[in-house]
Subunit: 200 residues, 2 copies
DNA sequence: TCGTTGCGAAACTCAGACGTATCGAAATTA
DNA sequence: TAATTTCGATACGTCTGAGTTTCGCAACGA
């Protein structure tokens, strides 16, 4: 009985390098961040950028899609802490998180992939939605429903529609708004516009 | 002097087949509609699908991007007629046009390309925006500005933000709403939600 | 020390697509 | 009819990248 017998008995031989694994994932994300679509992504480019042999990649992932799925899964989606003081503040916090993410090359291109390659890579999409989209959607839904409960929002409000208005406005600015980073006051303006409505 | 001497004297030889040209464009759009990204699109697949020799393609377009640019330019963007009776009606008309387009495989996939491959194919994107996005944006802006003038909308309304709310909500539903076609009453609900606001 | 396994590098085979060239047939003008 | 140009088909050489194999070395357990 060895010292480290904790469940998985380590097999003989040189252990796999965690460093290489991290480098591979990083390289993959970097390349995606540089604007590569999944189909343009080449294992050779990843290996080269990661400073790693192709063997080392194929030993861990059997094909490109598996690797991309794992790489995207790595991107954590830390939700901002919500103060809960008001619906307006919480919504702004959520959108501010979106705004900051949209400034990171990586997140932006991951979003591109999520929006364009969903049909072609359904596994990838499914996993991405579960990790990145769903938590935010739930958080926003919570905020809105709490707002309805507290009387801050109209009791007959269509929650899904409210979410669509707010998230959609951010999405729209990201894609088709003025070039460059999103304005710092955008979250506030979006939330106020959605809350206020357009009719006089 | 021949009968048809209208400006361009026809050179000797067999004239280029318009039918082939149409078939090539159609095949290109079909393949894009089947979920192909620009980079996956192959000239050989287009030629095969169009029932045409590769020569016939290369004689007209010198590379893939030129062909795709031309193919996308072909997609007309007929704006719906606006009654002008009320802001609400006009906005619903505009969104209804968007909704119907989102149901066509072709338009949807073209949108995918527009949203994901903008960085990689700037020429393509530029042309697409000018033909497809810009006219709609202007139309919506007109409607909103007229509404402000007529008092139907708040005089202090941020026009761009209003457009972002409305278009964004449609965009959001297209991408992340319940699967399948957009609900028939979605345009109406989006417009009413945006006009009303969320606060009580 | 020895056996085992992972490492990066390089060579390899295989498939797909590019872009060009060539063919005989078809369509048109002169 | 003759000259010219396009047609679809096909073959070609080239390149890129997938995925495999081999190599000598490194890192680990026994």
């Amino acid at each position: 009985m060895t010292i480290q017998d904790s469940g998985t008995a380590r097999p003989a031989g040189r252990p796999r390098s965690e460093k290489a694994e991290k480098a591979i994932i990083e390289a993959t994300l970097d390349l995606i961040g540089e604007g590569m679509g999944v189909s343009e992504l080449s294992i050779e480019a990843i290996a080269s950028k990661a400073g790693v042999g192709k063997t080392t990649i194929y030993r861990r992932w059997s094909n490109k899609e598996d690797l991309v799925v794992d790489a995207l899964s790595t991107l954590k989606a830390p939700l901002p802490p919500l103060t809960g003081t008001s619906v307006r503040d919480d919504l702004i916090s959520l959108l501010e998180a979106m705004r900051q993410e949209s400034g990171e090359v990586r997140s932006r291109c991951v979003m591109n992939i999520a929006m364009s390659e969903a049909d072609r890579y359904p596994r990838l999409m499914e996993r991405f939605v579960k990790r990145a989209i769903e938590p935010r959607r739930l958080a926003m839904r919570d905020v809105i429903e709490r707002g309805i409960g507290s009387g801050e929002l109209r009791p007959d409000l269509d929650v899904d529609m409210g979410m669509a208005l707010i998230s959609g406005a951010m999405l729209w600015h990201t894609k088709w708004g003025p070039a460059g980073d999103l304005a710092a006051d955008l979250p506030e303006r979006v939330v106020d516009a959605a809350l206020a409505g357009m009719a006089p």
